[in-house]
């Protein structure tokens, strides 16, 4: 597997791991424990993928990448059939969908890699290292794409809602006196951001 694709795998795994970790605080205990374990595993696997020369435990990683997607699908089906919305409510659609994209990418790349290795028994050779410029461009493209997908996913979680900076409210703002009439008219709110 090329060095560039391996960095993409690392970024995708870390992205999925961060999204899963962000879902911990909004989930009931059993689901929180599962996404915590999954998130830590994914981040650790991503870091090791960067550090080592080969992908760690590709067969197990392929299975672990697919399992959350299957489990989430089953949970949504069960919640629908049993009319128990609360079952799947702690796993919001956008973060889970983006984490699933990362997982599917990891699983697809690993499956293709395993097939290639299986078909080339005895003739396997390490791929040539890419040039420094090509490697850096590939790495930054992967980092940008994963960052662009992970950011809205994190923002859509409970953890992301708390992390949103509150912006710059005008502390000197005083509402206009309505003269005791009980109705407020002619109020011009100062510009503020952050919500």
């Amino acid at each position: 597997m090329s060095q560039i694709v391996r960095t993409w795998l690392g970024f995708a795994a870390i992205g999925a791991g961060l999204v899963h970790l962000a879902l911990v605080i909004s989930s009931p205990l059993p689901i929180a424990a599962i996404v915590l374990l999954l998130g830590v595993t994914e981040v650790a696997w991503g870091v090791v993928t960067f550090v080592r020369d080969s992908v760690p435990a590709p067969r197990v990683a392929c299975a672990v990448a697919i399992a959350p997607l299957l489990a989430w699908s089953l949970l949504v089906v069960a919640a629908t059939m049993l009319d128990a919305v609360w079952l799947a409510a702690s796993l919001p659609l956008l973060p889970m969908a983006i984490a699933s994209i990362f997982e599917l990418f990891v699983a697809a790349v690993l499956a293709a890699h395993l097939r290639r290795v299986q078909n080339a028994v005895g003739t396997a050779t390490l791929p040539a290292l890419p040039s420094a410029g090509r490697y850096l461009v590939g790495l930054m493209a992967g980092a940008l794409l994963v960052g662009a997908l992970t950011t809205p996913a994190l923002a859509a979680t409970e953890a992301g809602r708390y992390a949103q900076p509150h912006g710059s409210h005008d502390a000197d703002f005083i509402p206009a006196d309505d003269g005791g009439s009980g109705t407020l008219t002619g109020i011009r709110l100062p510009e503020h951001g952050g919500h």
């Binding site: 960067f50 040039s131 420094a132 490697y135 900076p165």
Partner: protein, 135 residues
């Protein structure tokens, strides 16, 4: 240099951070050294004088390491990447407080995290033959 991702990255990032540090002084007129609210670089990234000096030092360290050798570039990339990761996390809690001595805003945090990701990924992942040869 063009054969080593670590040296190339350290050199490019070094030049960029030196330029960012110099440009920062164009928006920090009247801003004190540790001011918690500074000027906006490119209309987005908040900096004060301390922040500019930090950019200059980081840029210089990266550039010197980049033009030196692979081992130096790897070491500096990993060290500054780890420092940026730490600063990115700490920065989330510093915004709006009185100890925000780098005048960090949300855009700064995004840039610090992005720099950390790229520096650590290249530092930990590239030029492994050099590391193996040195071990």
């Amino acid at each position: 240099m063009t054969k080593s991702p670590n040296r190339l990255l350290a050199t490019v990032f070094g030049v960029v951070y030196l330029l960012v540090g110099l440009l920062g002084f164009t928006v920090t007129g009247g801003v004190s050294f540790f001011d918690t609210s500074g000027g906006l670089l490119l209309g987005l990234f908040e900096v004060n004088v301390f922040h500019n000096v930090a950019h200059l030092l980081i840029g210089a360290a990266l550039l010197i390491a980049g033009v030196s050798n692979i081992a130096a570039a790897r070491g500096v990339n990993i060290a500054i990447g780890a420092a940026y990761l730490l600063l990115g996390i700490v920065g989330l809690f510093l915004i709006g407080t009185e100890v925000n001595i780098l005048a960090i805003n949300a855009a700064d945090n995004v840039l610090h995290f992005a720099s950390a990701a790229v520096l650590l990924a290249v530092g930990l992942g590239a030029d492994k033959k050099v590391r193996a040869a040195r071990a």
